[in-house]
């Protein structure tokens, strides 16, 4: 049979867009696995996921970057809301918001490369936070594109290691996500 699978979602016109979903959830053991399990079970993408307790230790704040058509994003937010541990969520992409990601990058820095590397870090407003004879470790914050641009600007061979946290986001202006 060439018929489409009866399990497939209807083909939608809207194309996949990047969304950044912020979630307040109970700071309980297993809450993270409920969220990540939901994404794998239903075949949704996760580009990045960050989570940490908030100023109220009974709550965690999670930021998920995902891509999907409008229909898929609608299902993702509905399914997340259904999880008993999820207190509140917002799709930050719906309104102006700020995104930041932290990267730690260890680069080769010896001889005349050393000065060049320092200058490059300055241009991107990075900070050198660890130094050895042959390496720098640079801390860089910004949105994902800025971090990508920094990596792009470096000589590939000089990169020893990168660690990225994934995006955290917050709405601009008066909008807040709280209980």
């Amino acid at each position: 049979m060439n018929a489409p699978s009866p399990y497939a979602l209807p083909v939608t016109e809207s194309k996949a867009m990047r969304h950044i979903i912020s979630i307040l959830l109970e700071n309980e053991s297993g809450a993270l696995s409920r969220v990540s399990g939901l994404f794998s079970a239903r075949g949704y993408n996760i580009e990045s996921l960050t989570v940490a307790p908030t100023e109220d230790p009974s709550l965690s704040r999670m930021t998920i970057v995902t891509t999907g058509s409008d229909d898929v994003i609608e299902q993702i937010t509905k399914q997340l809301n259904k999880l008993v541990d999820v207190v509140k969520l917002v799709d930050l992409a719906e309104a102006p918001h700020i995104e930041r990601e932290l990267m730690l990058i260890k680069v080769r820095a010896s001889g005349k490369e050393r000065e060049e590397m320092k200058r490059m870090a300055d241009i991107f407003r990075g900070r050198i936070i660890d130094v050895t004879e042959g390496t720098y470790t640079i801390e860089l914050t910004g949105d994902g594109q800025k971090l990508d641009a920094f990596i792009e600007a470096l000589d590939k061979a000089s990169i020893l290691e990168t660690v990225r946290t994934g995006a955290s986001g917050i709405a601009r202006g008066e909008r807040v996500l709280r209980v």
Partner: protein
């Protein structure tokens, strides 16, 4: 746990009890009369407490899967909640099929599982399994109780979550040391959950819009699912449909919500729905969907369904069920009875606006479709036709029995030929399609409704999957009637192989079947084999006359009979295969 219990501060004066005692007290406080379970190492303290009291009855099954199924059916067939109790490790893994079955059909249920002591968790201890991890995708929610002081609150939460909003199974995993530890006990009235507040009232503006669409419809259709049964909204639905005079269809899970003997009922819809129900569903211009979810077995290919323009109103308590497979025009999130009540208030003043001429024309079209008599079969056959057995069963029980089924052809025939006029009478596994549920379901139904007539329509392949429960039936003297439609095939698999796999009956023949009569007798029951159509009625009559016995009726039926109509997988609702076309 940081949950605050408002107004139920645990007082210092409360007596200290063990976790096991607390657990049993909680069950009694919840009004639980019956627990289905199987003992084991991790739950010995709990079983010891059950032994010491007589408020909560324990029903010993022969396999934990049956405990979960029986508890599930206990919920489905009553307004009480089913509870099952299993030990750690294999106890809980055995129950998983039953939990997933309940989850797919949104059945409220609480599963209590034993766990190895807290200090042994993660040590690969004997009979240790990550119960919370294994069940996470097939429960509404689950808990691991690490401290006896959290036990009572957690049990309360479990019962609250299982029964509210879109219902579902909730598992509470309890380590053995927690059942032995002591603390003061007080059972909270309710536990507020800031992260869980299911919507009850529907949006009034949306309800008004819905009424507008409904009265302006030229070709209206009402399509309802399991949500109407689960929320006990059947009476309101009947009132609404009756006052509007519109046609109504039910899903497999929704049968009984609208009386099947009513003229306005078009039968079940979907893959094996009636011609008239599927055609009306496809060609209506306004569709009212209530507590149903447009799943693949109901509307077939959503793209094909979408080819006909129609306005859809969808009432459901679960927002994620709305606009999931089919785009909806008027979504109404809310508890079905509350929304229907609002709708009903607005019917009277708007009734005059219904276009009677258009409605009459629509009914004339529906009657033409109904005239196809899509469920007809060869009544003169010299071999027993399975449909005939169900028809006779319906006549003899006057449509008043509780019917459970397993999964496959017999399930579809039971759904098509037994006319359910009341909700909660038709108990089967719709979403997960779990073979083997029939017998444990019948046990749960009978224990929830002592004295009621309960029949299990089953197939030989399904029945063999939980056959050990015949022993449980003997122990608790459950006078079930087992109606086995024995075609020596996994009939539905065979049917698909006939239609779509060139008659290659790969592994679908049931070889080496037992002598079911002797087998029933060996368990202490009554067994009968029926081979001729002329003997069907007499055998059923005799079986139902035996009020106190479980009677196992082994009907040797036509091996090649198929279920019609049929919407092949991936096809559109109106692309049915009808019996005469083959």
């Amino acid at each position: 746990m940081s949950m605050k219990i408002s107004g139920t501060e645990i007082s210092g004066k409360a007596t200290e009890m063990t976790g096991a005692e607390i657990l049993v007290k909680c069950l009694a406080a919840e009004g639980v009369e019956c627990v289905f379970g199987y003992p084991g190492g991790a739950v010995l303290f709990i079983y010891d407490e059950l032994f010491k009291q007589d408020k909560v009855r324990h029903v010993l099954v022969r396999h934990e899967q049956a405990a979960a199924h029986a508890a599930d059916a206990y919920s489905r067939a009553s307004r009480k909640i089913g509870v099952c109790l299993v030990t750690s490790g294999p106890g809980v893994t055995n129950a998983v099929t039953g939990i997933a079955t309940a989850y797919m059909d949104s059945v409220p249920m609480v599963i209590l599982s034993g766990q190895v002591p807290t200090h042994a968790i993660g040590q690969d201890a004997f009979q240790e399994v990550d119960a919370v991890g294994i069940t996470r995708p097939c429960v509404k929610h689950n808990f691991l109780v690490k401290d006896v002081r959290d036990l009572a609150v957690t049990i309360k939460k479990a019962f609250q979550i299982a029964q509210s909003g879109r219902p579902g199974p909730v598992l509470v995993d309890i380590p053995k040391d927690v059942t032995a530890a002591r603390c003061a006990f007080q059972y909270p009235e309710s536990v507020p959950l800031r992260s869980y507040n299911p919507v009850v009232k529907g949006h009034l503006g949306q309800i008004k819009k819905a009424m507008q669409l409904l009265v302006e419809a030229k070709r209206p259709m009402v399509y309802t699912g399991g949500g109407v049964i689960l929320s006990d909204a059947s009476e309101l639905l009947i009132k609404l449909v009756k006052s509007l005079g519109y046609p109504c269809t039910n899903t497999l899970m929704g049968l009984g919500a609208f009386p099947a003997t009513d003229r306005q009922f078009l039968g079940m819809l979907g893959m094996h729905g009636t011609y008239e129900a599927n055609m009306a569903m496809q060609h209506c211009d306004v569709l009212l969907a209530v507590g149903a979810r447009f799943d693949d077995r109901v509307i077939g290919n959503p793209a094909h369904f979408g080819q006909v323009p129609r306005k859809i109103i969808h009432i459901d308590v679960d927002p994620s069920s709305i606009s999931k497979r089919v785009k909806v025009d008027v979504p109404i999130v809310g508890h079905v009875p509350d929304v229907l009540e609002e709708l009903l208030k607005q019917v009277e003043p708007n009734l005059a606006r219904v276009d009677r001429a258009a409605l009459d024309a629509w009914w004339a079209q529906i009657e033409l479709w109904r005239g196809r008599d899509c469920l007809r079969y060869d009544r003169a056959s010299p071999i027993i036709k399975p449909q005939m057995v169900v028809e006779k069963l319906y006549e003899l029980t006057k449509g008043d029995a509780f019917i459970t089924s397993d999964v496959g052809q017999h399930q579809m025939w039971a759904a098509q030929f037994y006319k359910f006029d009341k909700p909660r009478r038709w108990i089967n596994s719709g979403g997960l399609g779990t073979m083997g549920v029939g017998l444990p379901y019948a046990m749960g139904v009978q224990l929830a409704n002592p004295g009621a007539t309960v029949a299990c329509v089953t197939g030989e392949a399904s029945f063999m999957m939980c056959i050990q429960e015949l022993s449980t039936c003997k122990q608790y003297r459950l006078p079930l009637k087992i109606v086995l439609l024995n075609n020596r095939y996994m009939g539905m698999v065979r049917q698909w192989q006939q239609f779509f796999h060139g008659n290659r009956y790969s592994q679908s023949y049931m070889d080496a079947l037992p002598d079911f009569v002797k087998l029933a007798e060996s368990f202490g029951h009554v067994g009968m084999r029926i081979e001729k159509p002329g003997d069907v009625e007499g055998a059923l009559r005799e079986a139902f006359a035996r009020k106190n016995d479980l009677v196992f009726l082994d009907f040797l039926t036509d091996q090649t009979e198929n279920v019609y109509p049929m919407v092949p997988g991936g096809k559109g609702l109106s692309e049915m295969i009808l019996s005469e076309e083959l």
